[in-house]
């Protein structure tokens, strides 16, 4: 960088010396244009220098065509260099091509970027934004068991902690996984035959459709149903750079679903599907929630339970219809008296819906969600329609 600042200065001084040292540079006189063009082409790949080199040489070229004194020209060059350095492109380029970045990036899922951060009622500051997102998971699920461990951390660092308007650290460690029933397997040849039958059936071949559906039913007959269980826990922390405001995050859930397939049983004949989800979550409320309006804006832990049941009802006209019942309950753990007396610590919501395949539905809801102040019964009759052409 010093080399290019020197070249620019030398060009300007040489240009000035061609005349009188105290005289303004002559407009239009630019005997160094070829040299400037050559130097610009050779702007090196060294991190950061390339970003300074071209603007400095452009500035020099511009100055040679203006009426300025050598002193003004040097001041202008310094200003140009200062502007380029204060621009976030300069440190970003330097970071991106640094040896440290080359060494870290292949082994760590880390990204670093300088950002110009706007602040309310204050001058903007330059901050270094970092992001780490690392996941460990098995390459293939083992007998229907899958899991992954994810660590995510992001934040912004500024030179002075008090100047940082953003989170210094926002980190989360999450473990989740699932397991499910395992299907029986056909051979490659049988599978290939079934694929061909499916294509013929899709084109309207009735006997191919019957044969293919029969093969699927026989393959899955050993299963009385299909279960799916998933779970997840997460723990995290966020803080400003001065560690004056820290917020811990904690949560977890367990979900289970079961499809009854065995048509020798009543539930299987009906084709019932059931599901249950239990969760606990740390909530950081905004100022506009009913709870905050009632006078308690602190963060809190909330437990939730949700259960659902779906039963196919056959067809209405040519359209299949499914009855879905959903029941949700939320409860704040260790709620304050303010929250309890405002009746904002428990919520229940029941929804019964008739669901069609094209979005047509009729639903009845009773109760309230955590964002509602009062309970109410709602009947919705609607048609959701999304344009689609085969």
């Amino acid at each position: 960088m010093k080399k290019y600042f020197g070249i620019c200065t030398a060009i300007l001084l040489a240009s000035a010396n061609a005349y009188a040292a105290d005289e303004p540079l002559s407009p239009g006189f630019n005997p160094f244009s070829t040299l400037i063009a050559e130097e610009k082409e050779n702007c090196p790949e060294t991190p950061g220098v390339q970003i300074l080199c071209a603007p400095l040489l452009d500035q020099t070229s511009g100055l040679l065509s203006q009426t300025v004194t050598p002193g003004q020209a040097l001041d202008s060059l310094k200003m140009s260099a200062r502007t380029s350095i204060s621009n976030t492109d300069f440190p970003n380029d330097k970071t991106k091509r640094s040896a440290a970045n080359s060494a870290l990036t292949p082994s760590l899922p880390l990204s670093l970027e300088f950002k110009d951060i706007d602040r309310e009622n204050s001058a903007s500051v330059i901050g270094l934004e970092y992001n780490i997102d690392y996941t460990i998971e098995p390459p293939q699920p083992l007998q229907g068991l899958n899991y992954n461990l994810n660590f995510k951390s992001e934040g912004t660092i500024t030179k002075t902690a008090a100047e940082n308007p953003r989170n210094f650290i926002d980190s989360k460690l999450e473990f989740s996984g699932y397991r499910h029933s395992m299907f029986g397997s056909l051979t490659d040849d049988e599978g290939e035959t079934l694929q061909a039958l499916a294509t013929e059936a899709a084109s309207g071949n009735e006997s191919a459709r019957i044969t293919a559906l029969d093969l699927i039913a026989k393959t899955l007959a050993p299963l009385n149903g299909y279960y799916f269980i998933s779970y997840g826990v997460e723990a995290g922390i966020e803080s400003d750079q001065e560690f004056n405001f820290t917020n811990k995050k904690l949560g977890g859930y367990l979900f289970g679903k079961y499809d009854f397939w065995n048509r020798r049983t009543l539930l299987g004949r009906l084709g019932v599907t059931t599901g249950l989800r239990l969760g606990v979550q740390n909530i950081d409320p905004s100022d506009e929630t009913p709870r905050a309006i009632a006078g308690d804006n602190s963060d809190y832990m909330r437990a939730s339970a949700e259960a659902a049941l779906a039963v196919p009802l056959g067809s209405m006209g040519e359209h299949p219809l499914v009855f879905v019942a959903n029941y949700r309950a939320y409860r704040e753990i260790s709620a304050s008296n303010t929250v309890k007396s405002a009746n904002l610590d428990r919520y229940l919501l029941r929804t019964f819906a008739l669901q069609g395949p094209y979005g047509m539905y009729v639903s009845f809801s009773s109760g309230r969600q955590p964002f509602d102040l009062t309970s109410e019964d709602t009947v919705e009759i609607g048609l959701k329609w999304y344009p689609w052409s085969p």
Binding site: R209, G275, P390
Partner: protein, 115 residues
């Protein structure tokens, strides 16, 4: 590619879904516009988290149907994990249809008549 009966990914998905939904008589052309909310069954009136979990459950089922029953192979660089997460994303989006899910199945799996 739009919903096409000559596409094995689409045809196999249709066959499995009509079997699962007990709507075996539904023609291929009609099933393409079935909403994903209808396929995952428990989506109506559910919270976002519950719908996403239900979508993942259905995705594991479709993934097994394609790989074990229809014996489709994963495309290069695709795995069980990529297949399930891509299908979960579509199934959890209530504006999507079976045709959209068919596109994902086609992207993730290679069927017998494909090179």
């Amino acid at each position: 590619m739009s919903w096409n009966s000559n596409n094995r990914a689409h045809a196999c998905l249709w066959l499995f879904e009509v079997w699962y939904c007990r709507q075996e008589d539904t023609p291929f052309s009609e099933a393409g516009s079935w909403k994903t909310e209808f396929l995952i069954r428990l989506g109506g009136g559910a919270s976002g988290d519950f719908a996403t979990n239900s979508a993942q459950a259905h995705a594991t089922m479709v993934d097994q149907a394609m790989s074990k029953i229809f014996r489709a192979k994963y495309e290069a660089s695709k795995t069980t994990s990529t297949s399930i997460s891509a299908m979960t994303a579509v199934l959890a989006d209530s504006s999507k249809t079976m045709a959209d899910l068919g596109e994902i199945v086609d992207e993730q799996f290679r069927f017998g008549n494909e090179l």
